[in-house]
């Protein structure tokens, strides 16, 4: 009952937000001086070209009309046609989405592993030197954004000690037998570990750059939450039963400490996905973000609109998923 209510409420809020995003993208591009056609025209285009282009992309209609046409198209799965490549925006965007999703999820996994490990070590060694060291590391990792970590890694592991690829998604020389664009996933399914390794070695640096700030947040929140839990009566009772400190941390404290961490990590994960835009650019990784920047530079309005909407859908979906996971993990809500 509660679960369904939560889902419905979130879906409603999601759609309002998405409509808001659509309105803003649509009008921002058009309200500002210099109409979109001028923005996308090559230098030296004549009156006739302008008129043709306007008709082609529907810019000859009034703004509300254009908006309605666009929204109707979106609802029918039609995001328009890209100006630079003259292909449907939908297929372009969906072609790049897997690359960005794989990068984000890889980064999330790394962040959870690093942050979780640091939190557990910090809790085990609380009050000691190890905890102090973890706190300092967290402070620095939190202060420096993904963009700078990426640059630092390029310098360290691309140039000074070149162990990872710092550019692209996969080595161009490799022959890819895949039918989907989820290369990382599909290479595993097809047991092509050579390709998988190549993909990982391309992805590792950008994913780590994205992961570090999130890892620091997880380490900090989870550690704090674990430490508070370790003082509670049930943790003490478990100790008197003969359990070791490690056991108490993992089995008694962790299940309770995860929940408060989870909600904040959800928001932070959307920040991480937002970070892919610049990180993909930095590492010439062929994902959505890189495509988005190209689209902006090339003034490809339909493509920009499509990508922004897609990002908004991803963000709101992530928030929804986090809320659902929270409800599922929380015994009070599950049985309420």
């Amino acid at each position: 009952m509660t679960l369904i209510r939560i889902i419905l409420k979130r879906l409603l809020s999601m759609s309002i937000t998405l409509i808001g995003v659509a309105v803003i993208v649509f009008f921002i591009i058009r309200i500002v001086p210099g109409n979109p056609i001028a923005m996308m025209l090559p230098p030296g285009a004549g009156e006739e070209d302008i008129a043709r282009l306007k008709a082609l992309y529907g810019f000859d209609k009034t703004l509300p009309e254009q908006f309605l046409i666009w929204v109707r198209g979106i609802l029918g799965g039609d995001f328009g046609t890209s100006i630079t490549s003259r292909q449907p925006v939908m297929s372009l965007v969906l072609g790049r989405l897997p690359a960005t999703l794989e990068l984000s999820i890889m980064a999330l996994v790394m962040a959870v592993m690093i942050g979780g490990t640091l939190a557990l070590i910090g809790t085990r060694q609380r009050g000691g030197k190890a905890e102090a060291l973890i706190d300092v590391t967290n402070g620095v990792s939190l202060s420096v954004p993904d963009f700078l970590w990426g640059l630092l890694f390029i310098l360290l592991f691309g140039v000074l000690w070149p162990v990872f690829h710092i550019s692209g998604r996969v080595s161009p020389a490799l022959d890819l037998p895949f039918v989907t664009n989820f290369y990382l996933f599909e290479s595993l399914l097809r047991l092509r570990f050579d390709i998988w390794l190549d993909l990982v070695s391309h992805m590792f640096m950008p994913a780590l750059a994205l992961a570090i700030p999130l890892a620091a947040i997880i380490a900090q929140l989870l550690k704090q939450s674990l430490k508070e839990t370790m003082h509670l009566d049930y943790a003490t009772l478990a100790r008197t039963k003969g359990y070791s400190e490690n056991h108490v941390i993992l089995r008694e404290a962790l299940p309770n400490a995860i929940l408060p961490t989870l909600t904040l990590v959800g928001v932070q994960f959307t920040f991480l996905i937002g970070g892919t835009v610049i990180i993909e650019r930095l590492f010439s990784y062929e994902g959505l973000g890189n495509m988005a920047i190209d689209a902006v530079i090339n003034r490809d309005l339909p493509l920009i609109q499509g990508i922004v909407i897609l990002f908004a859908v991803i963000f709101t979906t992530v928030n929804l998923l986090v809320d659902l996971t929270y409800a599922l993990l929380n015994p009070r809500l599950r049985h309420g």
Partner: protein
């Protein structure tokens, strides 16, 4: 009493000194850039391109940190870059702060429809990838310092609004607000005289953090080549050049990168240090 003594005894956090010190150096360097810079930051000299820094063989005097592929002096460009970075930090930071704090205060204290609208706006803004949003705004408004500042304000006001709204809500529920109401103060008066002073420490901390973020956003935008103009010495455009030339002249990347790193770290540590300073309970 005991609390007061503890606060007085507590030494000012070393990170406040370190980060404040670096930012002070930066401000001085930016102000005195014309005196300190050995070269014109825009002067190209193809015969002096890709000179290494002075501690490496093949360097030339007058170019202590080497030159980029167009023969421009790296040190001079970093110094002049500091002017742009700090200007953006200051102006964009304060404008963002002002807009976000006002909206946050209104939403958090007045509640009602204002809160509904502002909260919804915040939610919509959170659904935009911020970097892409900024790039889009610059593309629409055209390059230039003003565009950058406007873009930062437009994308980042929610950072303030969210926190200040929550704080104003907590403060608004406190007894002292109720007693001010009983004393006959108007709503606006209470917001300015009672709520604002109590959220001021938070605003100062957020402002400091925001300045660091503004520096980064400016760097990112000039990295993507949408900032002021390609010629102007910004740290971001230097980094973009350095990234392209990384395999033959690493210093073009390293020098602005380290400067940017330290600056962003300092703003953030200054903010965190101030937070601890204002809120001894957290320590």
């Amino acid at each position: 009493m005991a609390d007061g003594r503890a606060a007085a005894k507590r030494p000012i956090n070393p990170r406040l000194w370190l980060s404040g010190g670096w930012l002070l150096i930066l401000v001085v360097a930016a102000l005195a850039a014309p005196l300190l810079a050995p070269q014109d930051p825009l002067a190209q000299d193809l015969f002096a391109s890709r000179l290494p820094p002075m501690w490496q063989g093949g360097s030339e005097p007058g170019f202590p940190l080497g030159t980029d592929s167009l023969g421009r002096d790296v040190l001079s460009r970093v110094l002049y870059g500091a002017r742009i970075a700090l200007l953006v930090a200051l102006v964009a930071g304060s404008c963002t702060c002002a807009l976000g704090a006002v909206l946050g205060l209104i939403a958090g204290y007045y509640r009602g429809w204002a809160d509904v609208v502002i909260s919804r706006l915040i939610e919509i803004w959170m659904a935009f990838p911020p970097v892409l949003f900024a790039i889009l705004l610059i593309a629409v408004m055209g390059t230039g310092l003003t565009s950058i500042i406007v873009a930062i304000v437009v994308i980042d006001w929610t950072r303030f609004a969210r926190v200040i709204r929550a704080e104003a809500m907590t403060q608004g529920a406190m007894d002292y607000v109720a007693s001010a109401k009983v004393a006959g103060r108007g709503r606006f008066g209470i917001m300015i005289r009672e709520i604002l002073p109590n959220v001021l420490p938070t605003i100062v901390v957020l402002l400091t953090l925001e300045m660091g973020i503004a520096v980064i956003v400016e760097a990112i935008l000039s990295f993507v080549n949408l900032s002021i103009s390609t010629d102007d010495p910004t740290w971001g455009s230097m980094i973009a050049e350095g990234r392209a030339a990384i395999h033959h002249s690493w210093w073009v990347l390293v020098v602005p990168l380290i400067t940017l790193f330290l600056t962003v770290l300092s703003f953030s540590q200054l903010g965190e240090g101030l937070k601890d300073h204002f809120d001894p309970v957290l320590r």
